[in-house]
């Protein structure tokens, strides 16, 4: 790579960093004041893109960008007053879930309005050409983008440090109760901050349309990029977000420039890993405050009624005698997802770690099973036995970083990892078949009938769930729960809480992988959807629907959700949005938790 090429890639990176910074700064700002990580921030960015593309048709590009940003700010204000305001006192997990429901709704709304095709934006009039830099052509518009990031950074800095409003925002970020006691109008401030954050995201999206087309998948891609930036920069630090956006933007640009665009995510991952190892709380972030005093009060896990469950297992065993093939396939799905939900519950319940990316391990199991059969030509039985270990390995790699953090930081990181896993499956055509996935992943002949496969699934899933429950009451499970109840006390009696949590990641990944492998052979094919973020959220909904504080709850939640999804996806076109709406209604109606 010559000197001039390096310079050009560097400038490219700067241009990309600007959009990244706009999104991440908004995310940080909103988190600082409301303590809510807005999972829908990427969706606001996507909305900004679509709106700008639409508006530019009649108003022209230059008018469409600010107008789109203002419209997105309005949407943000609506979201804050309509949804978030009602759940500020709800448990963290439900808040995250509610913002995720917004992701589903906004995506389907965009699909309904703009269709599934990517929408190309116009060139920026007046800046459509290129300038010669070091003998090479560089788009004029990108030079403007390069200036945009620092300009917004300085404007934000002045706003926060030089205005009365900024002082209030900073006061509320540092101590919400104290700011309220001193007469800061919380309600108005929160709405305004959320609108400002949305404005930045919408602006970032709108300004990006000359560079890339608006597409429906961009929401999660931008969100996970923003999470990486915020985790690397330090949550709540605007200068940190700026620095991290530069770092990540440059890394991406150089990967693409060198012709390794598939490697982008892997490199991003390595950069994040390196930063987290050296500074667990991000480049400019502050260390997390150690949880003090008595841990959050959790009722003991009630033992499930084994009589009821035994009866149910017996019933499941005789179902194929009278049920049709459709019911058998649905029940197979339900069993697989019950195991998936139980493995997630193991992390969330006894482990106390909210994972927003659990589908990564489910998908790893599925892909490993498929690849072992198709590429390594192993017999199906062996592939089924080995695949879960691939999932466990993935969970151990991702989990190592996740357990360095806790709470929302951990949730963000799990989601970012899942998105990375998804992108790898989506982009690595030669190995994973890209967006088409793998086909021809069929079970061995003796399992080829739906009934035989149902029995295999029944035995393996029930066995795996029983094993998981056994683990919860084992010494390992108790030590894990001890770390959740009171990390302080646990460390003070010789428990290495992180090691315990790390192992729990491996265990949960292993069992999710069993589910994934079973799923792959039951469908005969695997698509990247198996490890997509919406699939992860399905798991969360199952667990929360059934109740995270019970053992058998997640199983019932999985059954209900899988059945509901099956019915909805056949009858309702925008069923993802419907599920999102159901989540929102549940969270707003029961802000203290869906389960009792």
């Amino acid at each position: 790579m010559s000197g001039s090429a390096i310079l050009l890639q560097f400038l490219n990176g700067l241009a990309g960093a600007s959009s990244l910074f706009l999104v991440a700064a908004g995310l940080s700002l909103i988190f600082g004041v409301s303590r809510i990580v807005n999972f829908a921030h990427g969706s606001l960015y996507m909305l900004g893109m679509y709106l700008a593309v639409s508006l530019s048709g009649s108003l022209g590009f230059w008018a469409s960008v600010p107008l789109a940003a203002i419209l997105v700010a309005g949407v943000g204000a609506l979201i804050e007053t309509g949804v978030l305001r009602r759940i500020y006192k709800a448990p963290e997990l439900l808040q995250l879930l509610a913002t995720f429901a917004l992701v589903l709704i906004i995506r389907d709304a965009a699909l309904w309005t703009w269709g599934a095709q990517d929408r190309l934006g116009p060139r920026a009039p007046g800046l459509a050409g290129a300038v010669a830099i070091a003998g090479r052509q560089f788009p004029q518009y990108d030079l403007l983008l390069i200036c945009l990031g620092p300009a917004v950074f300085i404007a934000l800095h002045l706003l926060l440090s030089r205005t009365r409003w900024g002082t209030r925002v900073r006061a509320a970020s540092q101590d919400r109760e104290m700011a309220a006691a001193l007469g800061v109008n919380e309600r108005r401030l929160f709405t305004a901050v959320f609108a400002l954050g949305a404005l930045l995201a919408g602006f970032g999206g709108a300004a990006a349309i000359p560079r890339e087309p608006a597409s429906l998948e961009i929401d999660l891609a931008v969100m996970s990029d923003a999470f990486v930036v915020v985790v690397v920069g330090g949550l709540g630090s605007i200068p940190g977000a700026f620095l991290a956006a530069l770092l990540i933007g440059e890394v991406k640009a150089f990967c693409i420039g060198l012709g390794y665009s598939e490697l982008t995510l892997a490199i991003e991952f390595i950069v994040m890993a390196a930063v987290l190892v050296l500074r667990p709380w991000g480049l400019l972030g502050r260390p997390l405050v150690e949880t003090r005093g008595p841990g959050t009060s959790q009722p003991p896990l009630p033992a499930p009624s084994f009589l009821l469950l035994g009866g149910l297992a017996a019933l499941l065993a005789i179902v194929p005698v009278f049920a049709g093939p459709y019911t058998i396939v649905l029940l197979t799905d339900i069993l697989v997802f019950a195991l998936f939900a139980a493995s997630l519950h193991f992390l969330m319940g006894p482990g106390g770690m909210p994972s927003f990316g659990h589908a990564a391990y489910f998908g790893l199991g599925a892909y490993a099973a498929g690849l072992l059969v198709l590429r390594a030509h192993l017999p199906m039985e062996l592939a089924l036995a080995l695949a879960p270990f691939a999932a466990a390995l993935g969970a151990l790699v991702f989990g190592w970083f996740c357990v360095q953090l806790s709470g929302v930081y951990l949730a963000m990181l799990t989601l970012a990892f899942a998105q990375i896993a998804w992108s790898v499956a989506f982009q690595w055509d030669r190995l994973t078949g890209g967006s088409n996935g793998l086909i021809g992943v069929w079970p061995a002949p003796w399992l080829s009938s739906k009934q035989a496969y149902y029995y295999l699934t029944l035995v393996l899933c029930l066995g795996a769930v029983a094993l998981l429950w056994r683990l919860i009451v084992s010494p390992f499970g108790y030590a894990l729960r001890a770390g959740r109840d009171s990390p302080l006390r646990a460390e003070a009696i010789g428990i290495d809480v992180r090691a315990q949590q790390w192992a729990a990641f491996g265990v949960a990944g292993l069992f999710a992988g069993v589910g994934g492998a079973l799923y792959a052979f039951s469908k005969g094919s695997i698509s990247p959807e198996a490890l997509s973020v919406p699939r992860s959220v399905d798991g969360l909904v199952m667990v929360l629907l059934g109740g995270v504080q019970t053992l058998s709850g997640p199983l019932w939640g999985a059954a209900l959700f899988t059945w509901l999804e099956d019915s909805l996806s056949r009858g309702v076109e925008y069923w993802r949005a419907a599920i999102g709406a159901v989540i929102l209604v549940l969270v707003i109606a029961f802000p203290r938790g869906i389960s009792k």
Binding site: S297, L301, V473, S474, R481, R484, A490
Partner: protein, 246 residues
């Protein structure tokens, strides 16, 4: 060799020097009180002793072995039990299970997937609970216990690994006066019979002067006096700090 030896320990938060050049030692079987007004640096000292905080400089040695830089769970393995100012117990577990988890840790079974934890060394757990006088509450969930009883659970948990050093941060805060005497009598008896070195911080001066064989007084992050209760009581510098110049 002392059970605990601290030399020139210092810790600053930003520009505030919380602990400055603190040195002292505690011998096996001794009950030593670390006292001082609010903000004197007692809890900071404690948190450095069990590895929750890393000192800026100085040395902490347990029976001659340096523990600076170790994490709390590693320090515990060297025989340091600790109770917290605000009790920290496992609220989703019963009283007995709290002790059982500590015993599991002591016997290095934390990664065992085997026999259910609730059946692990029930007798030993109950014996520990009997020692602190709450065996009849063994099956109750910790979440419903009275505060004074939680302090006892913490003590039983802290004793599970037969510590050589017991750190008690405000052990009697929030307890009724009669209970305070009983708890400290227990701690003092343990120190005597099992040769445990006990270091505690306390605001209740009756407890301090009744049970400490030696007192260390911190003020502004520095040791301003150390000695037997009577010496400390008569120390003019201590009187000045606690009573003002009058």
């Amino acid at each position: 060799m002392s059970a605990l030896e601290v030399r020139e320990l210092s810790k600053a938060y930003g520009g505030v020097q919380a602990v400055r050049g603190v040195s002292f030692a505690v011998d096996a079987g001794e009950v030593v009180a670390l006292i001082g007004p609010n903000g004197a640096g007692k809890t900071t000292c404690f948190n450095m002793l069990n590895g929750q905080l890393r000192p800026d400089s100085g040395e902490i040695a347990l029976a001659g072995r340096s523990v600076v830089g170790l994490r709390p769970h590693q320090v515990w393995r060297l025989g340091v039990g600790r109770t917290f100012q605000l009790t920290a117990t496992f609220s989703s577990m019963t009283v007995r299970e709290n002790v059982q988890v500590a015993l599991l840790s002591h016997h290095r079974r934390l990664f065992s997937f085997g026999k259910p934890a609730a059946r692990f060394q029930v007798d030993e757990a109950d014996a520990l609970l009997a020692r602190v006088g709450i065996q009849e509450q063994a099956a109750r969930p910790c979440a419903v216990l009275a505060y004074g009883d939680l302090k006892r659970v913490e003590l039983a948990v802290a004793l599970a690994n037969r510590p050589r050093l017991l750190l008690m941060d405000e052990p009697t805060a929030g307890m009724a006066p009669g209970e305070r005497q009983a708890l400290m009598q227990l701690a003092a008896a343990l120190a005597g019979s099992e040769r445990i070195a006990v270091l505690f911080t306390e605001h209740d001066m009756d407890v301090v002067f009744n049970f400490a064989s030696r007192i260390i007084v911190l003020h502004g992050g520095e040791v301003i006096a150390t000695g037997a209760p009577d010496e400390v009581r008569a120390n003019p510098r201590v009187r000045e700090v606690y009573l003002g110049n009058a």
